[in-house]
């Protein structure tokens, strides 16, 4: 039995077992039966054992207790080159199709006199048609229109303070780390996709190859090595900003200090830690 100390709630007096020796009492055998008693167990609730690791966690050179990541997006700067989208897919092995993205870019176009913007993303069929492998691009469909206002908005997981996806996950396969990233345990996820439904931002998708939920990790394998996420690293115009909000001199702290920032769908109560400037009321 592994690590019983972690789960002290699980131990019943084993002696209760001793009274029964009959081998044929199998009336209750069956898949459903296994569920039942646990209803009582769950009432007791899991006990969190904080036996603190000797070194830093999760890696030898990186202690998540010391960081509090934040992400800034300046939509004024975004040029819609989609280098972030392609870089993300390269970095994280995301399916190279029009239906699975950890980050994507939306284009909002107000034609003259229109009350509502026209919106598309790089996954629109017309944009796919003009793209090449590793060179996704937006088409120039509005070149003959009278455009009043237009801008790009990069989108991604908001790594919320109150993530809906973590709330609904039945197993604990998705969780928020101490440094603020929302991650998915690919070996523990059962693939029910409840989190995909619960995310108000459409940031999650089902990974058909690994048969589990998948999402942006802020390139956790990069940030834990002192690097920027791939999308931030690759952005040629500095529209994406990442850093440690504990560090007053980090790019994100500067970004938050210099700007009046917004978050997406604040009415959801998720409190994103991706902060936007330069977005419009129609962006959601």
């Amino acid at each position: 039995m592994n690590k019983m100390s972690d789960t002290p709630d699980n131990t019943l007096p084993e002696g209760q077992d001793a009274g029964d020796t009959s081998g044929r009492r199998r009336f209750l055998a069956g898949a459903g039966a296994a569920c039942a008693s646990a209803a009582l167990i769950s009432v007791l609730g899991p006990a969190v054992a904080k036996d603190g690791p000797s070194g830093s966690f999760p890696t030898a050179d990186f202690d998540w207790e010391k960081h509090n990541w934040g992400y800034g997006i300046d939509a004024n700067k975004c040029i819609g080159c989609l280098r972030c989208v392609d870089a993300c897919k390269n970095e994280n092995g995301v399916a190279k199709d029009a239906n699975h993205f950890r980050t994507w870019v939306e284009r909002y176009v107000y034609l003259e006199g229109a009350k509502r913007p026209l919106i598309d993303s790089q996954s629109h069929p017309d944009n796919i048609a003009v793209s090449a492998p590793n060179a996704s691009r937006f088409d120039d469909r509005y070149k003959n229109e009278k455009v009043e206002k237009a801008f790009f908005v990069p989108k991604m997981c908001n790594h919320c303070e109150n993530p809906s996806c973590v709330q609904v996950c039945p197993t604990g396969a998705t969780f928020k780390t101490k440094d603020g990233a929302v991650l998915v345990d690919k070996e523990y996820c059962i693939g029910c996709q409840y989190c995909v439904q619960a995310c108000p931002y459409g940031a999650r998708y089902f990974n058909e190859i690994e048969r589990r939920a998948d999402k942006c990790t802020w390139c956790y394998h990069r940030i834990s090595k002192g690097m920027n996420p791939a999308c931030v690293e690759i952005c040629p115009v500095g529209a994406r900003v990442f850093g440690d909000m504990n560090d007053k001199n980090s790019p994100i702290s500067q970004f938050l200090k210099d700007n009046r920032v917004l978050s997406l769908k604040p009415e959801m109560g998720n409190r994103p830690t991706c902060y936007y400037i330069g977005i419009d009321k129609e962006v959601s």
């Binding site: 039942a36 646990a38 399916a95 604990g172 523990y188 996820c189 029910c192 931002y201 940031a203």
Partner: protein
């Protein structure tokens, strides 16, 4: 890797859309299997309700179907996890949700509630048929005998004391079962109603709507199964029982229509952000699925028919035909309701600026065929289980004696 991706593209279904939807939304996560999951759970809750009306509330006219209702409930119930498991990306990990249940997750708690309820149903059936089990363990001459013997737990004791205990247990289980079965299904409604990401789902009324539509579907399926089985067994259908079930269906159905109407009109009238797209959806693909099938033909029409039947005190053959038609219509309405909730919710984009149009494929894991197979397996289970527990006779002993007497 490219080849792997190409293979993956072949296994998921890309849904066309209008307006703007988030790119990841073009693969609809929950499909037909999640439509029949609440449908089956609803049949369980409804069938159990009918059985409780006899066992706890003492409504005598439900006696002919009360025992069968429990067996039907169990047979529907055991298929419920199968629909969920077939939908999972990693069914072999499903027990993770029970080993480390996340207490904030509606879905994790569902596993416990469902498991608890399955055991409750099995116990209740066991107590109900205990005298038959003991009788068959002693008198059955077929291959089934060892199974009966196993089920007696080695005790053949039948007397006033055991009857007293069995009755107490049965009543206790039935009383616990009422909140359990209704909780179970209200809970399914909560799985949808608690998600704030989709306006179409996010409603406090969702659990109540699910519960009442569950009850009407369960009563309907019992009407239909009871009639068909009686025809096959060539026995007279108990008219009083059918009349009782029609009354129950009539009452609960009016309430269901009311709840569904209130929910829909409140959503339309509040007209929050994104109402444009809901209006477009309502008058577009939803019109025939919701207004015509779910509400019109499936619910309002049977209410009218049953009101007339009640008013004119219809009886005899007309009552049977009317009850059968109404039950079939209600079953249709409820499956449309499940479809409109589950698929409908996902067809309205989270952006509230676009609509997807999902089409259920025929073949494949998420297709109509899989759904039809899963929907018919409870009937097979019912056939098998009624070989062991005959719900249509008062007791195995008296039945055998009657047969012997007839010879």
């Amino acid at each position: 890797m490219e080849a792997v991706h190409a293979a993956a593209e072949a296994i998921y279904h890309v849904t066309p859309y209008t307006g703007y939807v988030y790119p990841n939304e073009t693969v609809v996560p929950w499909s037909i299997l999640i439509v029949i999951y609440p449908y089956l759970t609803g049949l369980v809750a409804g069938a159990f309700t009918v059985s409780s009306l006899f066992h706890v509330f003492g409504i005598e006219r439900f006696r002919p179907v009360a025992r069968f209702a429990l067996i039907a409930a169990l047979c529907f119930m055991v298929v419920v996890p199968v629909t969920l498991l077939s939908h999972l990306g990693h069914p072999e990990r499903a027990f993770n949700a029970m080993i480390t249940p996340h207490t904030t997750s509606a879905m994790a708690i569902f596993g416990y509630v469902a498991g608890f309820y399955v055991i409750l149903l099995m116990l209740e059936i066991w107590f109900m048929f205990r005298e038959d089990i003991v009788y068959n363990a002693q008198n059955d001459r077929s291959w089934k005998r060892p199974i009966y013997r196993l089920m007696t737990l080695g005790s053949y004791e039948i007397n006033d004391k055991t009857r007293h205990y069995d009755h107490k247990w049965l009543l206790t289980l039935a009383i616990i079962g009422i909140p359990a079965s209704h909780g179970l299904h209200g809970y399914v409604g909560f799985v949808f109603g608690s998600l704030k990401s989709r306006d179409w789902w996010s409603s406090d009324l969702m659990p109540a709507i699910f519960l009442f539509s569950a009850i009407v579907s369960g009563v309907s399926v019992l009407i239909i199964l009871y009639m068909i089985v009686s025809l096959v067994r060539r026995v007279k259908i108990d008219e009083d029982c059918i009349k009782g079930m029609v009354l129950a269906l009539w009452g609960f159905l009016m309430f269901t229509v009311l709840l569904e109407g209130v929910e829909f009109f409140a959503l339309m009238y509040r007209a929050r952000e994104g109402i444009d797209i809901i209006r477009e959806y309502k008058s577009g693909p939803l019109f025939w699925r919701f207004a015509i099938m779910q509400i019109g033909i499936g619910a309002v029409l049977p209410v009218i028919i049953m009101s007339l039947m009640v008013y004119f005190k219809t009886s005899g053959r007309k009552l049977m035909v009317g009850a059968f038609i109404c039950a079939a219509l209600v079953l249709t309405s409820v499956i449309f309701m499940r479809y409109n909730v589950v698929i409908g919710g996902q067809e309205i984009s989270k952006t509230m600026k676009g609509l997807l149009s999902y089409e259920v494929p025929f073949f494949g894991q998420e297709g109509w065929m899989a759904a039809i197979i899963l929907l018919s397996t409870p009937l097979v289970f019912m056939y098998v289980l009624t070989r062991f527990f005959n719900p249509w006779i008062e007791s195995a002993k008296s039945h055998a004696e009657a047969l012997a007497h007839a010879k």
